[in-house]
């Protein structure tokens, strides 16, 4: 899990994004390493979601560079992101309640035998993906999603993202609506994703979750990166200061920069 020596799997450099007169992202640098969990933290309006949407191809960036496995890439739409192996699990999960787990995991990308659905292959792949993630909380992959608990749904949504040999999985507030036991379950799953060599990005408001699961933490403050630090080199209190004030001791934005804002 050290990864310090290795080059980043995905790196965003000097990203700028404006919506009309509102300059949302200022020269943002953000790095994702294979096998590590990078947490993206920041107060409401700090630009977390905008950054993720740029990554997912929903927003086009105004300037800056995206490097994937060291090569510059352009992401013009969700399809480009998916082709690179970047999957985003949004907060609302986007699952169909009336379909079962397998049907949801393969939705829009069904395996076919000529023109017909190949249920046997899909069910087998769904099972092995869930087994690789050590998910044991689902009784049957043929259960309707409507009958699943919040944590189980999150698990299905994450497994769906992993199914496509994804290299980067972005999780938007995965534990926001969950209870204690289910949060535990999902955090374990996030850790296992990283252990499989996937670069995981987790957006969270919950400092306990972040401090527990993340390897490195990127704090955004009013559209700028306040600091990108290793978890082992920082404390809970420092991260909170970075989020709320943009600086903490030697870390963070210089005072002059803040005045500029």
């Amino acid at each position: 899990m050290t990864g310090l020596a290795q080059p980043p799997l995905l790196s965003l450099q000097g990203i700028n994004k404006s919506f009309g007169p509102v300059h949302v992202l200022h020269d943002v640098d953000f790095h994702v390493y294979a096998g590590e969990v990078s947490a993206l933290v920041g107060d409401n309006g700090a630009g977390k979601t905008t950054l993720v949407k740029c990554l997912a191809g929903i927003h086009a960036i105004d300037s800056g560079e995206i490097l994937f496995e060291g090569n510059p890439v352009t992401i013009h739409g969700p399809r480009d992101a998916a082709l690179l192996g970047i999957e985003v699990v949004y907060q609302d999960l986007a699952l169909c309640d009336n379909l079962d787990v397998v049907q949801n995991m393969f939705l829009g990308r069904e395996r076919k035998h000529s023109l017909l659905l190949d249920e046997v292959t899909m069910e087998g792949l769904a099972k092995s993906t869930l087994a690789d993630l050590s998910v044991r909380t689902l009784a049957s992959v043929r259960q309707l999603v409507a009958s699943l608990s919040g944590g189980q749904r999150q698990t299905v949504a994450i497994a769906k993202a992993v199914l496509w040999d994804s290299k980067v999985v972005v999780l938007d507030e995965p534990t926001a609506a969950l209870g204690v036991a289910q949060t535990r379950q999902v955090l374990d799953l996030v850790r296992r994703l990283a252990d499989q060599g996937i670069g995981v990005v987790i957006i969270s408001h919950n400092m306990n979750d972040v401090m527990e699961v993340a390897d490195r933490i990127c704090a955004l403050y009013l559209g700028r990166v306040a600091a990108e630090v290793l978890k082992t080199e920082t404390t809970h209190a420092q991260v909170v200061e970075l989020i709320t004030a943009g600086r903490s001791g030697s870390l963070g934005l210089a005072a002059a920069e803040q005045v500029q804002l």
Binding site: P78, R79, Y90, D92, A94, L95, C96, D97, N98, L99, Q103, L107, G108, R109, E110, K112, L115, L116, L117, V120, T121, E123, G124, K127, S134, V135, R136, T137, A139, S140, R142, Q143, L144, A146, S147, L148, S149, G150, G151, Q152, A177, G179, A181, Q182, R184, Q185, D188, L189
Partner: protein, 435 residues
Amino acid sequence: MTDDVPVSTGLAPAEVPPPPASTATLPADFEGPIATAVIRDYAARIRGGDLGALPAVLGFAVLFALFSVTATNFLSTRNFANLLTQAAPVVLIGTGIVFVLLLGEIDLSAGATAGVCAVSMAWLLAHGYSPWLAIPGAVVIGMAIGTLTGFLVAKVGIPSFVVTLAFFLSWQGVVLLIAKEGGTIAVSNKLIIAIANKNLSPTLGWLLTLVVVIGFATPSLFRIAARRRAGLPAQPVRLVVGKAVGLALLWGTATYFLNRNRALGRVPLRGVPDAVPLVLVIVVVFTFLVTRTPWGRHIYAVGGNAEAARRAGINVAMIRLSGFVTCSSLAAIGGMALASQLNSVSPQTGGNDTVLLAVAAAVIGGTSLFGGRGRVVNAVIGGLVVALIPNGLGLLGKKGGIDFSSSGPKFIITGLVLLLAASVDALSRKRAQTG
């Protein structure tokens, strides 16, 4: 969101929760009588909030028992054959309605579409065009109407309720223009007439029984074999055999009675009505399409969560459009069955209560009005219930000063039954949301 499944931290195998009863498939190693297996399978699905066709089957049984006691001649082979023929147009149009309901939409113009297609076909036939042009032509007109409706709903974004309500009136106007006010166009084409007036020979009837039972059991058995080969849990073979035996008994009994002479006069009348194989083919084809193709899967997905479908890369607008095309095409075939019943097409064909009965057939059969839940076969069971009401009431005649064979009681009772079915749908959905 409540948790009825114990949550494990996902590490120790000892914490694996027991499988909940809500899984709809039985384990392969299930032991015990087959009847128990079938009942357990069904009970599990009902507990999962999917009532399916159960209320319709119960409703059919209740109405059947009621009319058997009160109406003379109700329990006769002749009337049973009549019932099947009368149900055919409602079932055919209702099958189309199932598709728009699955999408969470509605098509109030399906009856009028059936009328337009039927009258166009009748006009073409009456003007000497080949039936090989007139019959496919009617289906093409249905597809065109569905494309127009689908475009206005899916692309322009007008609620389907409004679009199809408008077309309900407009298409009836078209029928009036073609048939001329008060006029009817006679239909004498043998193929069309056969739908409601001809029967299979007794031998063909038995052959059909054989095809139905084998056609039901074979794909299920192949599926079980394929799943076992892949090491996936499969239904027990005995469950499929049990269901096939049940189907054979039911279909065989019906065929046996239909093959007996039911003529009032001297010319013998026997056999399974031609409407049965027609409906069977349509139901099998569309069940196959909706359960085995990505298109069918996407219909369910769009009806269940359109936003999720969109993000999964599904072309939501095209799926919606295709649903309306399917509905209108089936309405065209339903229109032919309507023409067959009267041997003619009039301005009333497909008007009045036709669309209401078709929607009722789909909903009574267990298709949800909220989208995403339902099966094609629902339209058949619901259609039989809907057809049973006028059939039984017609035979009831005058009782206690009320003429039950008139339209009044028929409309009131059918309306109430639809309302009842919609309540069951709404309540089971509510339960699934809070449960």
